[in-house]
Amino acid sequence: MIHKYKLSGYNIVLDVNSGSVHVVDDLAYDMLDFLDKNVKEMPDETLIDHLRQKYSLTEINETHCELYELYKNGELFSKDFYAPLAKNIGVSPIKAMCLNISHDCNLRCEYCFASKGDFGTGRELMSLDVAKKAIDFLIKHSSSRKNLEVDFFGGEPFMNFEVVKETVKYARSLQDKFDKNFRFTITTNGLLLTDDKIDFINKEMDNVVLSLDGRKEINDRLRLTTNGKGCYDIIVPNYQKLIKDRGEKDYYVRGTFTKYNLDFTNDVLHMNSLGFDQISIEPVVSEERLDYSIKEDDIDTVFKEYEKLALELIEQRKKGNNFNFFHFMLDLNQGPCAIKRLKGCGCGNEYISITPNGDIFPCHQFVGKSDWKMGNVNAGNFNNDIKDYFAKANIYSKEDCKDCWAKFYCSGGCNANNLQYAGNVLKSHKLACELEKKRLECAIMIKASRKKH
């Protein structure tokens, strides 16, 4: 299978099963319409007759020869080696945990999937006892995995700072005994960032996600404090101080774009102008009836905006401004291995989420969906049937994914979104798919731009 498309003056061909990407001229691009998975050594008459109207016979033979060479090398119309592997994918050790340390928040963001902080389960903070049991659970179920990840999430994690600190200390105290390496991340809205918290983040957190939607008027329209005011003026200086002190460690300033800012390139550039060079902004995921939701009618507008952002990124890099946009990151020379791409995010299989009362869910977006509760760390029970179900959810068990050109890049998308908007974990959330494919096309085009054809 190949996927070919034109974007910003480039003719791009992705060979799906090998991962090879080719930038081709118009003749090669046109010729691919006449080729399939059985490329012959010599071009056939039909192909020549059609292309002779635009190109010379010498050029046609030359180009066919080049395409045939790629085919022979397994870089064009390459075979699918992966379907049999997908059938053998089994349950994995649990290696990552989202610790919902706080089901409470000091913001009331309109679009929050966590029901403005409490996940619809009532405002509650996790006790240190539950947090320790969660760490014990992770170690116990991690088998031989060495790298274990814990993400402090909410709600606003810094509403429960003492427990965050003590949990890190507790996990670190067990590393040598169990031969584990804990990596911590935290997601914060920035309101409570004081010097001591910034120092803690920069010392203990391998990654930090800082929520900001972009321009002040955009951020303050939907990200409101409990008294209904915007938070931009409070959080931006906090983030700037944190980043200044952070050195080379990872961080992302992460926003959500909605119907209200489909011109989100301006928000990305604004965040960059504030001194942030690791930026992510994602489309809101919400029901269509809501004013701010992104609907199918908006897709063309969003597509054009992603193209605009990609071109802006290229222009900025020419000027030496190498800021990074998370969803355009793509390592064509390595990236995740094929097995990882088959399995996807690991939700419910190698990744779980723990609520303040110790309930276990497949991931942070499943929290509160009682049908998907997997157990409780206090009670010590765990439902392996749900784990088995998610272990089998891969790009070949998802009907919409197995023949999709983007399957090795999105890895089947978000299971929670599939359930919420397509009614089934194994069905695709169409809107999310379309946006993901567009981001991929833009990301590959950026790679193609590095060296002109």
């Binding site: 090998s18 991962g19 090879s20 990407v21 080719h22 930038v23 081709v24 001229d25 090669a28 050029e59 030359e62 060479e69 790629l70 090398n73 870089e75 390459s78 290696k95 990552a96 989202c98 999937f113 995995r145 060495k146 790298n147 993400d151 990596r183 991340t185 997601t187 990654n207 996600v209 959500t256 690791q278 992510s280 994602e282 998370f326 969803h327 390592d331 020379n333 390595q334 990236g335 995740p336 291995c337 094929a338 097995i339 990882k340 791409r341 995010c345 690991g346 190698e350 990744y351 991931c363 942070h364 977006q365 090795f408 890049y409 999105c410 890895s411 978000c414 979104n417 999310a432 060296k451």
Partner: protein, 48 residues
Amino acid sequence: MKHIRTLNKSVLKESLKNGGCGECQTSCQSACKTSCTVANQKCENRSK
């Protein structure tokens, strides 16, 4: 090649030889809280 510029080699097939260790970062631990993307994650073992 005159008509084709290849940006990379068969990265996926190649990774079957030495991938699958399971030690890589889980995607939800990065910046994709709602738009999960696996392809931009790093593999630490194979880059050593």
